[in-house]
């Protein structure tokens, strides 16, 4: 049973090992992480330090070899994912056959057939990320920054409690990246959504409430 004092995200002792040929790579060696409602946390680390692996475990897309994961105090389950969390990736991952509005609505479709209220919210989110005029444009007709903004709108469509962002500026130029991060943080503040931001950029990390570093499989 979850209550309002439970952290939005509660990870205890998460461990993950990969096999590389005959060698065992212990990528995560007991990661503990609590994220409170509305809190933003950044995770930095060197390439290959396991940041994306950790994010996959936190999102429930991958299973840890040891440790526990709770979303708002209850066990993380795949059937809760669509309502509980939103994700933003470095490569945007928009569906090329759908226009911007349909891409945003896709998150709502995972739960139910979108009605007028969902369509209105999707339109408002696109307006909020500055793409009201481009709602009917296909991803191929949008710039990289615009695509990432559509992806942010999609991640927030179901009003999730937690947003996981995996290097969302990795494919963007510095100026566009700054704009996207500022927009992401502002939206999370406005909606009270907790944010876990994986980034290489120290400046972006400073903009969050808490900056953590993943080093040798442990968060510090």
């Amino acid at each position: 049973m979850n209550n309002e004092h439970d952290p939005v995200l509660g990870a205890r002792g998460l461990r993950k090992t990969y096999l590389s040929g005959t060698q065992r790579l212990e990528v995560l060696r007991g990661v503990d992480l609590d994220v409170a409602a509305g809190e933003s946390v950044s995770i930095r680390g060197e390439s290959g330090s396991g940041k994306s692996t950790l994010l996959n475990l936190l999102s429930g897309l991958d299973a840890p070899e040891a440790g526990t994961l709770a979303w708002s105090g209850a066990a993380a389950r795949a059937d809760r994912r669509a309502r509980f969390l939103g994700m933003v990736f470095q490569s945007f991952y928009l569906i090329p056959e759908l226009d911007a509005l349909q891409n945003v609505l896709m998150a709502a479709r995972m739960i139910r057939r979108p009605g007028a209220a969902e369509k209105k919210r999707a339109g408002e989110l696109l307006a909020r990320v500055g793409l009201a005029e481009r709602a009917t444009h296909l991803p191929a007709q949008l710039s990289g920054g615009e695509r990432q903004r559509v992806a942010v709108a999609r991640a927030l469509m179901n009003a999730p409690q937690l947003l996981l962002a995996d290097e969302p500026t990795g494919n963007l130029d510095e100026h566009t990246g700054d704009a996207v991060i500022e927009m992401l943080l502002a939206l999370c503040r406005e909606t009270g959504t907790a944010l876990v931001l994986v980034t290489h950029n120290a400046a972006y990390a400073k903009m969050t409430h808490r900056a953590l570093v993943l080093h040798e499989g442990v968060l510090r």
């Binding site: 994306s52 996959n56 999102s59 897309l61 991958d62 795949a78 059937d79 994912r81 669509a82 309502r83 994700m87 990736f89 490569s91 991952y93 569906i95 090329p96 056959e97 759908l98 226009d99 349909q102 896709m106 998150a107 479709r109 995972m110 739960i111 057939r113 296909l138 999609r154």
Partner: protein
């Protein structure tokens, strides 16, 4: 609409100006198979239907045959017409004759018709192209078109007719004259076999030529609409004297119908291969799509999609291609059936083979008869095969782990 059906439709028919080439080619492949199936099945059924119509219109639905001959046919006809479902009955006599015109002999089949009752059972009068059935009397005959053509006898001329009885007497050195009869008409069914060599004459003339007295060889029976042949045959057999038995037209032509149905079934399964080949092409395209969209499949997992729903998304694409291909194929098939005779005659004219077409394929026009059952069979087979084509790609897509799929290059 659940997201997996929505996305399946969007992947097949994307928004915007993008032409769905993969969808177009897949639908065309399935449509071609359906079109060929519809045309061939309809034409094959048309052959069967035409043959049934000609048999029923020339001999009725039920034939009563005797081991030797039937005596007192008038009384039996009366009794038959009392049986529930019987619209009319007419006695006949059949056999072989030798017909001579200008010293040219032919050996056609003879059909002796009771002119008073034949109209209640058959529709021979509809097929008399020159002259009239009413002109037939005990000293005249009507020839089938093929026989008239091969003898070269004009209507109004006289031909000499020899029955086996006459020939037997001649063999005993008796001096017997042939029966001279006038040709008063030509009968044509537009079926090569039926039109090739038959003489139609009155029942009395046939009985006279065969020395039958008042005996007949059989009785043809016409049914009222809505009655099944087998039911009425069973009722008729209860009132027939020993040595006489009723057969439905299907029983009488059972071997022929069996061959016809076998041909039709074989054609169906052979042509179904076209749909199966198209389905393999659909499967191959969907498999490529799964590989190409690996990261999208990972995204669907990240958005909260279940593996089984991802599988349904790809399976549904096979289903939708099957449905679209079937609709286009049915429309194309019907269109082709409408112009089939124009196409066949144009080809025959172009290669100058119209006569051969008629001689070898029995009919001057391609018949067609489309039944709901056959269309349902084609639709069900096609959609099931197309949906099955989506199973392997669906299974591959469902097996992908979202985290690994998102990482894939």
């Amino acid at each position: 609409m659940p997201w997996y059906f929505y996305l399946a439709l969007k992947q097949l028919f994307p928004s915007g100006r993008r032409f769905p080439f993969f969808t177009f080619m897949s639908v065309v492949g399935v449509a071609l198979g359906v079109m060929v199936l519809v045309v061939v099945q309809s034409v094959m059924s048309g052959f069967g239907f035409e043959i049934r119509r000609m048999i029923v219109e020339s001999e009725g639905e039920i034939q009563i045959k005797a081991q030797t001959a039937i005596a007192d046919s008038a009384a039996l006809v009366q009794r038959l017409e009392q049986v529930e479902g019987v619209a009319g009955a007419t006695p006949y006599t059949g056999g072989t004759l030798m017909v001579m015109y200008h010293d040219k002999p032919t050996f056609p089949l003879m059909r002796g018709l009771d002119l008073d009752s034949v109209g209640r059972v058959t529709r021979l009068d509809h097929y008399v192209t020159v002259g009239s059935l009413d002109a037939l009397d005990d000293d005249s005959v009507i020839l089938s078109s093929g026989l008239q053509e091969s003898l070269g006898v004009p209507v109004g001329s006289t031909v000499d007719v020899y029955s086996p009885l006459i020939l037997e007497r001649m063999g005993r050195d008796e001096y017997v004259l042939p029966r001279s009869v006038k040709v008063v008409g030509i009968l044509e069914f537009n079926h090569q076999q039926l039109d090739s060599s038959t003489v139609y004459c009155s029942l009395r003339l046939a009985q006279d030529l065969y020395g039958l007295g008042s005996l007949v060889h059989g009785i043809n029976v016409r049914l009222k609409p809505g009655y099944r042949e087998d039911d009425v045959v069973a009722k008729i057999n209860t009132i027939l004297p020993p040595g006489v038995q009723a057969f439905s037209w299907m029983d009488s032509f059972s071997d022929f119908l069996w061959v016809l149905n076998l041909e039709k079934g074989m054609m169906f399964f052979l042509l179904l291969i076209i749909v199966i080949v198209a389905a393999f092409s659909v499967m191959s395209s969907l498999l490529i799509s799964v590989v190409r969209k690996t990261r999208e499949i990972g995204l669907l997992g990240a958005l909260g999609g279940r593996s089984r729903h991802v599988a349904l998304c790809f399976c549904a694409q096979g289903f939708f291609i099957g449905v679209c291909g079937t609709i286009v194929g049915l429309a194309g098939g019907w269109g082709l059936l409408v112009v089939r005779n124009d196409v066949v005659h144009w080809i025959a004219r172009t290669i100058q083979r119209e006569d051969e077409l008629r001689r070898f394929y029995q009919f001057s026009d391609l018949p067609q008869h489309t039944t709901t059952g056959e269309i349902v069979q084609i639709v069900v087979f096609t959609i099931v095969i197309s949906t099955l084509a989506g199973l392997l790609p669906a299974w591959r897509a469902a097996k992908l782990k979202p985290a690994e799929a998102l990482r894939s290059e």
